[in-house]
């Protein structure tokens, strides 16, 4: 089977092509394109960056520079469940660091890491704006508030 043919049947590639086609003439399109490409693939594979560089007529170095500048972009695949631990000021003074330590011990991964079975990715974030419920962490964008070290395992276990 030829490479061209394989590309045709890859639904992710179809979506990426549509995306690039939509944005290729718009100014300032790089960041929205990267965001949506990451939505399609879950991260930004090297080949996708090359395609974006070509379609938007930007040097690959510039694309890579933008990707590595912003915290949102990832060059490696994510786990099935993304755990974001808030370490904003409000969470910090209400014991967010202890919640984080417990999660790290429980999952045995550091900031940015993914568990070996691909079940969890751990990220530390600065503030998710749910300060009234501090300390908080979110799993797949669902916020879990008023956390404490002894509640951590119970919440994580809910996510397969």
């Amino acid at each position: 089977m030829s490479a061209v043919h394989e590309e045709l049947i890859d639904p992710k590639q179809v979506k990426l092509d549509e995306l690039l086609d939509h944005y290729k003439t718009q100014k300032g399109a790089l960041i929205p394109v990267l965001q949506q490409a990451q939505d399609i693939y879950g991260y930004l594979p090297a080949d996708v960056l090359k395609q974006i560089s070509k379609a938007l007529r930007l040097p690959l170095a510039k694309v890579y520079g933008v990707v590595t500048f912003y915290a949102q972009f990832r060059l490696t695949p994510m786990g099935r469940n993304v755990v974001r631990v808030c370490l904003g000021t409000a969470c910090h003074v209400r014991g967010g660091a202890k919640v984080l330590e417990t999660i790290q011990k429980e999952l045995k991964i550091e900031d940015g890491g993914t568990t070996e079975d691909g079940r969890y990715t751990l990220e530390i974030v600065a503030c998710i704006g749910a300060c009234g419920l501090a300390p908080v962490f979110s799993v797949n964008n669902v916020v879990h508030g008023k956390m404490s070290p002894d509640k951590v395992a119970g919440v994580l276990a809910k996510y397969e």
């Binding site: 100014k27 300032g28 399109a29 790089l30 960041i31 929205p32 990267l34 965001q35 520079g65 933008v66 500048f69 912003y70 915290a71 949102q72 972009f73 370490l87 904003g88 000021t89 409000a90 910090h92 003074v93 209400r94 014991g95 202890k98 330590e101 417990t102 011990k105 429980e106 974030v125 600065a126 503030c127 998710i128 704006g129 749910a130 300060c131 009234g132 419920l133 501090a134 908080v136 964008n141 669902v142 916020v143 879990h144 508030g145 404490s148 070290p149 002894d150 951590v152 395992a153």
Partner: protein, 650 residues
């Protein structure tokens, strides 16, 4: 006429393509182009229903669906309420209304019954049938769900009866928590877009700028620059194309007022931007919103679409010849993009790095065109100034800081949440009267104000009035308005380390002093909190702080040392205790702590071991429990759980 947005009869010709100049006023006072009692009555009936006035046949049950309450399960409550209403055949008497944030997230999910304004807190799915049967049908309040004042222990029946809300002056937050932010007609019913209509019909652009100058409004993003003056720079700049930007990249940890306004009242921001664009002569605008706020982005997109549909965004708005288009851009996670030149670089698709000024954005901003940028709260002040006039606005606040300010009260106090008060109120009133004082009867130590750019203020300075100028003199700043309350258990060296850790990670790397200086400062602070501090550390720290402050290009670097300088000024003894005595006076720095169990006091109940998240406590019915200090993460759970005081922290 089914909706307020429908034409009252065929005499109404307004559409986005054939705009009528009186459209906005017509919605609440109309019809204007013809006299017809029936058209008028029908409008007033719909208005009363939307506003749930006492005269309206329909009553409403309001559900907060802001980020806080949604995470506590608010959406399932709405579904449940709707099915309960159907079950009792009440669906035509009561409507459910999802609203934005009330700012009292800790009490969520919050439910309000209107028009009586009964205020229910911590509502669970099991409570819904009782609310329907007791309150909606029998007209009695469900007492156990009412808010209880933690200081007096009394029930508050309505919203305005709680001490938290009673002392506030909610102008910007007025609609938040009351209207459905996804329905433009509810914003219209609250006199929405009337400020813009007045500006565009009755005033010249320069008159609008004069009005804003006269109001005394200063930028709410942090620096407090006079808004009208800023607008006049962009207005005077030469150029065929100009932009306005709304900075919604609310990056300060511990601040969430902009999120609440965007989620709860997005049209107020759009109206403010329309007024600004008209005054400056811009025809295009961007709202740059944090990607971490998906709900705010969604509601902005809905609001923009609705404003386009009724002809308040687009070409020839209200038949005035003025055109304005608005876009939402999602940020990608970089704190420095709150700095306006970095923000513009990010909109252009580049790394968000600040530029040297001059040229100022007012001359050469986005895509090198004259650009005016204000933050969310600033923009949402503008409609009120145009609606009620500069003199009305200027009655609030102090001589040099006019209007109200929203603060995010968080940390170790009883009532965490968003509060809006006139500028000039003292910190003591905000923290103790509205915030209900420190949690669990602990002693107040300091309040951190202004996020990573601000400083810590000790108890003896709590009577300071909060305005832009007084706080700067005290070594802090209003900043975006985050107030984090710290008690005796908070270590101030650790707080300084926390903020430096944040700014050091977020430094874009352009200026060497900021990139390298914050790193070295963080190393020193980390060393001190680990009990490895050296005698000369405090001098080095102060020197570095001044270098970083004086030689960085943008606000991030210029203010990054503030938390260190302020804690050194007011809490130097805590630094010294870490360095010389190798002790953390607040018992917070885990490297300087150890936990053990007093065998004599241990009742062998095992509660500590069962709750230990890392299972490092062993023992049984016959042997007193013991902590394996190697595996202990010093989280303190055992100390909190033990009822016999057997766990010792040293």
């Amino acid at each position: 006429m089914k909706s307020l947005l429908d034409p009252c009869c065929e005499r109404c010709t307004h559409t986005a393509q054939t705009p009528c100049k009186d459209y906005v006023r017509c919605l609440t006072e109309g019809p204007i182009c013809h006299d017809d009692e029936q058209c008028k009555a029908e409008r007033q009936r719909l208005l009363a229903e939307i506003k749930t006035e006492k005269t309206s046949a329909k009553k409403a049950v309001l559900f907060c669906t802001g980020t806080g309450c949604a995470s506590s399960g608010a959406h399932s409550l709405i579904d449940l309420m709707e099915s309960e209403l159907k079950k009792h055949g009440l669906e035509n008497t009561f409507t459910t209304r999802p609203t934005g944030c009330h700012g009292f997230c800790e009490q969520g999910p919050i439910v309000i019954v209107e028009p009586d304004q009964t205020f229910y807190t911590h509502v669970t799915p099991e409570d819904i049938p009782e609310i329907v049967e007791k309150d909606l049908i029998q007209g009695e309040r469900v007492e156990r769900l009412l808010y209880v004042d933690p200081t007096s222990g009394e029930h508050a029946t309505t919203y305005n009866n709680t001490p938290f809300y009673a002392k506030q002056n909610r102008i910007i937050l007025h609609n938040c928590g009351h209207i459905n932010p996804e329905r433009i007609e509810e914003y219209f019913a609250q006199d929405g877009y009337k400020g813009f209509a007045r500006a565009i019909q009755e005033m010249q652009p320069l008159e609008v700028i004069e009005e804003v100058k006269k109001s005394g409004l200063r930028g709410r993003g942090g620096a407090g620059f006079p808004t009208g003056l800023k607008w006049s720079f962009a207005q005077q700049a030469e150029g065929d194309k100009k932009y306005v930007i709304c900075n919604a990249d609310e990056g300060d940890p511990g601040a969430f007022m902009d999120r609440s306004v965007l989620e709860g009242d997005p049209h107020s921001v759009i109206e403010g931007m329309l007024i600004g664009a008209y005054a400056i002569g811009a025809d295009e605008g961007y709202i740059y919103c944090r990607a971490e706020y998906p709900l705010a982005i969604k509601r902005l997109e809905i609001a923009i679409k609705q404003a386009q549909e009724v002809g308040l965004l687009g070409e020839n708005i209200l038949n005035s010849g003025f055109s304005f288009n608005l876009h939402v851009k999602a940020g990608a996670g970089a704190f420095v993009c709150g700095e306006e030149t970095a923000l513009m670089a990010s909109i252009e698709g580049n790394r968000g790095m600040p530029k040297v000024r001059p040229p100022f954005p007012a001359q050469k901003g986005l895509w090198a065109k004259p650009t005016n940028n204000n933050n969310v709260e600033t923009w949402s002040n503008v409609p009120h100034i145009l609606r009620h006039g500069a003199d009305w606005y200027a009655q609030y606040g102090t001589e040099k800081s006019k209007g109200t300010k929203i603060f995010a009260l968080t940390g170790k106090l009883n009532n965490t949440g968003l509060v809006e008060v006139p500028m000039g109120m003292s910190l003591r009133e905000i923290i103790f009267d509205i915030g209900g004082g420190v949690q669990n009867g602990k002693k107040f130590k300091a309040v951190q104000i202004g996020g990573p750019s601000g400083g810590c203020i000790p108890e003896e300075m709590l009577d300071l009035p909060v305005d832009f100028d007084t706080l700067v003199q005290a070594g802090a700043m209003v900043g975006s308005g985050g107030l984090v309350i710290m008690d005796e258990d908070t270590c101030m060296v650790d707080v300084a380390r926390f903020f430096l850790n944040f700014t050091q990670k977020e430094s874009c790397g352009k200026c060497t002093p900021c990139r390298e200086g914050t790193k070295r400062m963080l190393e020193i602070l980390t060393r001190i909190t680990k009990g490895e501090g050296k005698e000369e550390d405090l001098v080095t720290l102060e020197n570095l702080a001044h270098v970083v402050k004086n030689t960085s290009l943008c606000g991030l670097g210029q203010t990054a040392p503030n938390p260190v300088l302020a804690t050194l000024k007011y809490f130097r003894h805590e630094y010294e205790a870490h360095i010389y005595d190798k002790q953390c006076p607040a018992h917070a720095c885990s490297a300087l702590l150890s936990y053990s169990i007093d065998a004599d006091k241990c009742k062998k109940c095992g509660l500590c071991a069962r709750n230990c998240p890392v299972s490092c406590i062993s023992g049984d019915k016959n042997t007193p429990y013991q902590i394996n200090t190697e595996a202990c993460i010093k989280c303190g759970t055992c100390l909190d759980k033990c009822k016999f005081g057997a766990v010792v922290r040293a």
